[in-house]
Subunit: 202 residues, 2 copies
């Protein structure tokens, strides 16, 4: 079978896979095989902002195709395996998957723009918790409840805010019974309530 | 020569090309031939938010490929000609152009997220004026200065704000000599100053 996989690489949680800057000749196109990758920009004051999560089967590092400057870090969230691909040697099937992946990524970033611009922080946090519950940072408790492993810093980056404010809103969501909060994890106690919150406009 | 163009359509300024909702079986993939298209979402209170401008040679309506729900309107900004394409019948060359276009669109939306989240309104307006000056709404004055035809409402949509606030900041930019303001148009008096402003973080 024709394959364009040049290499399969493994990264530990928190390891940086790609740095901001011009794509270099040795850069490849990357596809997540297992785990989760966060594309995150960091401003001059050190505030992090998540641009997109990349899940198994999805592509990143697509700037290698256009040659445009990369404005973000790609970071492994969990232990992550990625395939490095030669962008010029994709099979017809891979080309088709890449287009599908780019279309989905574009839809996701549209939603992020809409949320950051139009929603209150509480609704954005609800939407982010639901999004994370469909990634490899999710786990199931014995009672069947779904939880996500994420720090308040990571949630702040995903919603475009800072930790202090996120901690306050998470306290509010906890008191209102939407979630339960533990060390580095949050359990979704009322998923349908969170779903409703995530759809509310400002 | 093989072609996947099904039809070429013309739209007047302000005409809606696509509405939000599920892509229907009769939906096609669209490519701008001449003019400018704005992808814009409108919230329950009628506030508009520009997700992306689509310039000649660029594609939109890409949800027809993934089947995902469209969350925006596509609107002609100027008189606009678009090609309707059969997404399943793209030539290898068109497929390559589509991938390039999607990659560029994704980079643009990353920048929009970074701006909306991290920049002050004044910097976002400077960045938007420069972006518009590289589209068909730009014109050149006799003295060689570049201007853009855009209302305060349109700029508000592009920066994720409201008209009243935008009018205030445009007054400020005018007093400081960055721009000159006329009926439905803005002239870039100090492009390099605007360039500096557009790169400033919050």
């Amino acid at each position: 079978m024709q394959t364009s996989i040049l290499d399969t690489l493994t990264f530990d949680p928190g390891e940086i896979i790609l740095y901001p800057g011009e794509p270099s000749p040795k850069d490849q196109l990357y596809r997540v095989r297992e785990g989760l990758v966060r594309l995150q920009s960091v401003d001059d004051e050190g505030n992090a902002l998540t641009l997109r999560f990349v899940r198994p089967g999805e592509y990143f590092g697509e700037e290698v195709i256009s040659g445009a400057e990369r404005t973000y870090f790609a970071e492994a969230v969990t232990e992550t395996k990625i395939d490095a691909l030669a962008p010029g040697q994709l099979s017809a099937q891979e080309m088709h998957e890449l287009v599908q992946g780019l279309v989905r990524a574009l839809s996701q970033t549209y939603q992020t723009i809409q949320r950051i611009s139009g929603q209150r922080l509480k609704n954005r946090i609800a939407a982010t918790l639901l999004e994370l519950s469909r990634t490899p940072v999710a786990f199931m408790e014995k009672n069947g409840r779904i939880g996500v492993r994420a720090t308040h810093d990571e949630i702040a980056s995903a919603v475009g805010s800072v930790r202090e404010t996120v901690t306050k809103v998470i306290g509010e969501l906890t008191r209102e019974g939407y979630i339960r909060s533990g060390y580095g994890k949050l359990v979704l106690e009322n998923p349908s309530g969170l779903e409703r919150l995530s759809k509310e406009a400002a």
